[in-house]
C-alpha cells in the first residue's frame, strides 16, 4: 500500500473501519452511563432501596467524604501497594524457582507431586497461619497474595521452559553452549510470552489475595473498608470501595498490557 495513491475503495474501507470503531466506543460509553443513570433513577423513584443497593449520587458523596477525611488515598494506596508488592514478589520468586527446577531435573521430579498438591490447595486457607506467624499487618497480606500467584507462576513458567523447541537448544549446543548459555540465549528469551502471560494472570490473583488478606487482617485498605461497611450496614461504603477497586485493578492490568506492548515494540519477542 503506498500512501499517496490510495484507491477510492480503500478509502471507503478505511472510513468504514473507523466508523465501526467509533460506534463500538460510543455504545460502550452509553452502556456505562445507562447503567448508572438507571441505578440512580430507580433509587430516586424508590423502586429499589438505596440503603441496600446504594446509589451513584451517594457513592460520589462517599468518595468526597473519604477524600476530606484523608482516607481515600490512604486505603486505596495501601491496597495497591500490597498488590504490586505481592504481584512482583510472586512473579520474580516464581520465575526464579522455575529456573532452579529447570536446571535440576532431579529436584523438579522430586518436588512435582508437592507442587501439584500446593497448586490445588486453596491458598487462602493459609491466611490465618500467616497472620499467626507474621502478625496481623501488611506483611501477612502480601504473603497471602504471594502464595496465591507463586505456585501458578512456577508451574506456568516451568511448563514454558520445558516446551522450548529442543532443536533450538541443539542449535546452541552445537556451538558448545553450556547450561547457563542455553538458559540465557534460548530458554529465557523463548519464554518471554509465557512469562508475560503469567504476569497478566498474577495481577488478578494478587488482587484476590490482597482483598482476602485485608478481610482477615481488617485494619486498612479497600478490603477492610468493604468488610467494615458490610458489618455496619453501610452499603455506600461497600459499593464505593468495590468501584474504586475495579478501577484500580483495571488500571494495573492496563499497565501490564502496556509493558507487553513496549516489549513487542522493542522487537524483543513476538506476541503470543
Amino acid at each position: 500500500m503506498n500512501s499517496n495513491g490510495i484507491s477510492k475503495e480503500h478509502l471507503a474501507y478505511l472510513r468504514k473501519v473507523r466508523m465501526r470503531k467509533a460506534l463500538i466506543l460510543s455504545l460502550r460509553l452509553f452502556l456505562l452511563v445507562a447503567v448508572f443513570a438507571l441505578w440512580e433513577l430507580m433509587a430516586r423513584m424508590k423502586l429499589i432501596d438505596p440503603f441496600i443497593t446504594s446509589q451513584p449520587s451517594r457513592i460520589v458523596n462517599t468518595i468526597a467524604r473519604l477524600y476530606q477525611e484523608g482516607k481515600l488515598f490512604y486505603h486505596t494506596g495501601i491496597t495497591c501497594l500490597e498488590t504490586v508488592i505481592g504481584f512482583l514478589l510472586g512473579t520474580i520468586a516464581g520465575t526464579l524457582t522455575a529456573i532452579v527446577l529447570w536446571w535440576s531435573e532431579l529436584l523438579s521430579r522430586v518436588l512435582e507431586p508437592y507442587l501439584v498438591v500446593l497448586n490445588s490447595l486453596p491458598k487462602i486457607a493459609l491466611g490465618p497461619i500467616f497472620i499467626v506467624w507474621i502478625g496481623a499487618g501488611p506483611s501477612s497480606i502480601i504473603a497471602i497474595a504471594l502464595t496465591i500467584s507463586l505456585i501458578v507462576t512456577i508451574l506456568e513458567v516451568l511448563n514454558g521452559f520445558m516446551s522450548v523447541d529442543s532443536e533450538k537448544i541443539k542449535l546452541v549446543r552445537t556451538f558448545g553452549a553450556n547450561r547457563l548459555q542455553v538458559l540465557t540465549k534460548v530458554v529465557l528469551p523463548s519464554s518471554y510470552p509465557v512469562m508475560i502471560n503469567a504476569l497478566k494472570v498474577n495481577v488478578g490473583l494478587s488482587w484476590v489475595g490482597v482483598i482476602v488478606g485485608e478481610f482477615l487482617v481488617s485494619k486498612a485498605g479497600l478490603g477492610y473498608l468493604i468488610v467494615y461497611g458490610g458489618q455496619v450496614f453501610q452499603l455506600d461504603l461497600v459499593m464505593t470501595s468495590v468501584l474504586i477497586l475495579s478501577i484500580a485493578a483495571a488500571l494495573m492490568y492496563q499497565g501490564v498490557v502496556y509493558i507487553e506492548r513496549l516489549l513487542i515494540r522493542s522487537g524483543r519477542h513476538t506476541p503470543l
Binding site: 552445537t174 556451538f175 558448545g176
Partner: protein, 255 residues
C-alpha cells in the same frame, strides 16, 4: 589432501526402559578435505545420530571420530551443524542471529565481527542485517542460517536434511545456493537427506546406510559428465539416472 574426518568402527546404542536400541554399528568412513559427502538411508537408520556423534553432541558407545587429527570429545568450532529448519531466533535481528555462535564461544571481537560483516556482504544479506527473521523469505533465512554456521569458521559442515522444511522449488534454489557458498568458502560438507536426487546432485560420494542398526551398505563415488558442476546441471547428466536407480534399489523401499 588427507582425510579430515576419520570414523573408526563407530557404534551407538540408546538405552530406554523399553530396552536397548542399536542405532549404528561398525561405521568406517574417511572424508577428504573439501569433499562433499551425502548420506542416505531408510528412516530411523541413525543418520542424525551419526551427525550428532561427529558434532560431539553425543558420545559413541563404540569406536571414535577423529577430526583434523583430534578425537572428538564435545562440540567444537571445527564442526558446524545445520539443522532441518533455520531456527533463527525471532527475538534477534539477522546480525544478532549470525553472531550467536561467536557470542557463545566468546570469540566476538573486531576480527570475527569484520568476518561476519564480510559474509553478510558477500551473500547479499547486508541490507537485512537489522531486520528480524520474519521479514525474510525462506531462502534468505536459510542463507542467514548458513552464515551463522560459517561465522565460527568451521572446517566441516554437517547438514541434517537442511532443505527439507522448504517447498520443492525453494528447496532446489536453496540447495544450489548453499552448495555454491560451501564450495566458495572451501568447506568440507556432509549432507544427510531423504532425497536421492539431491544426494547425487550435490555430492562427490554418496554413502548408503542399511536400515537399523545402521551400517554402511555402499559408497558411490559420483562421476557425472556436466560442464559446470552445480547441483542443477548435474541433474541433467546422463549418468544421473543410473546412480538414482542403483541407490533406489539399495534403499529397498517397500510400501
Amino acid at each position: 589432501m588427507g582425510a579430515i574426518v576419520e570414523v573408526h568402527n563407530l557404534g551407538m546404542k540408546y538405552h530406554s526402559l523399553n530396552g536397548e536400541i542399536t542405532a549404528l554399528e561398525h561405521i568406517n568412513l574417511e572424508v577428504d578435505e573439501g569433499e562433499f559427502i551425502s548420506i542416505v538411508g531408510p528412516s530411523g537408520c541413525g543418520k542424525s545420530t551419526l551427525l550428532s556423534l561427529m558434532a560431539g553432541l553425543l558420545k559413541p558407545t563404540e569406536g571414535s571420530v577423529i577430526i583434523g587429527g583430534r578425537q572428538v570429545a564435545g562440540p567444537d568450532n571445527q564442526v558446524g551443524y545445520m539443522l532441518q529448519k533455520d531456527y533463527l531466533f525471532e527475538w534477534r535481528t539477522i546480525y544478532e542471529n549470525v553472531i550467536l555462535g561467536l557470542e557463545i564461544t566468546r570469540t566476538l571481537d573486531s576480527h570475527t565481527r569484520a568476518y561476519v560483516l564480510k559474509l553478510l556482504e558477500t551473500y547479499g544479506l547486508s541490507e537485512f542485517r537489522d531486520k528480524y527473521p520474519n521479514q525474510l523469505s525462506g531462502g534468505m533465512r536459510q542463507r542467514a542460517a548458513l552464515i551463522r554456521t560459517l561465522a565460527v569458521n568451521p572446517q566441516i559442515l554437517l547438514l541434517d536434511e537442511a532443505f527439507s522444511a522448504l517447498d520443492y522449488q525453494t528447496r532446489l534454489a536453496v540447495a544450489e545456493d548453499i552448495y555454491s557458498i560451501i564450495k566458495r568458502e572451501n568447506k568440507t560438507a556432509i549432507l544427510v537427506t531423504h532425497d536421492i536426487a539431491e544426494s547425487i546432485s550435490m555430492a562427490d560420494r554418496v554413502v548408503v546406510l542399511t536400515k537399523r542398526p545402521g551400517t554402511i551398505k555402499k559408497i558411490y563415488p559420483i562421476r557425472l559428465t556436466c560442464d559446470r558442476k552445480t547441483p542443477m546441471s548435474c541433474r541433467e547428466a546422463p549418468e544421473f539416472r543410473h546412480y538414482f536407480n542403483s541407490i533406489w534399489k539399495d534403499l529397498d523401499i517397500h510400501f
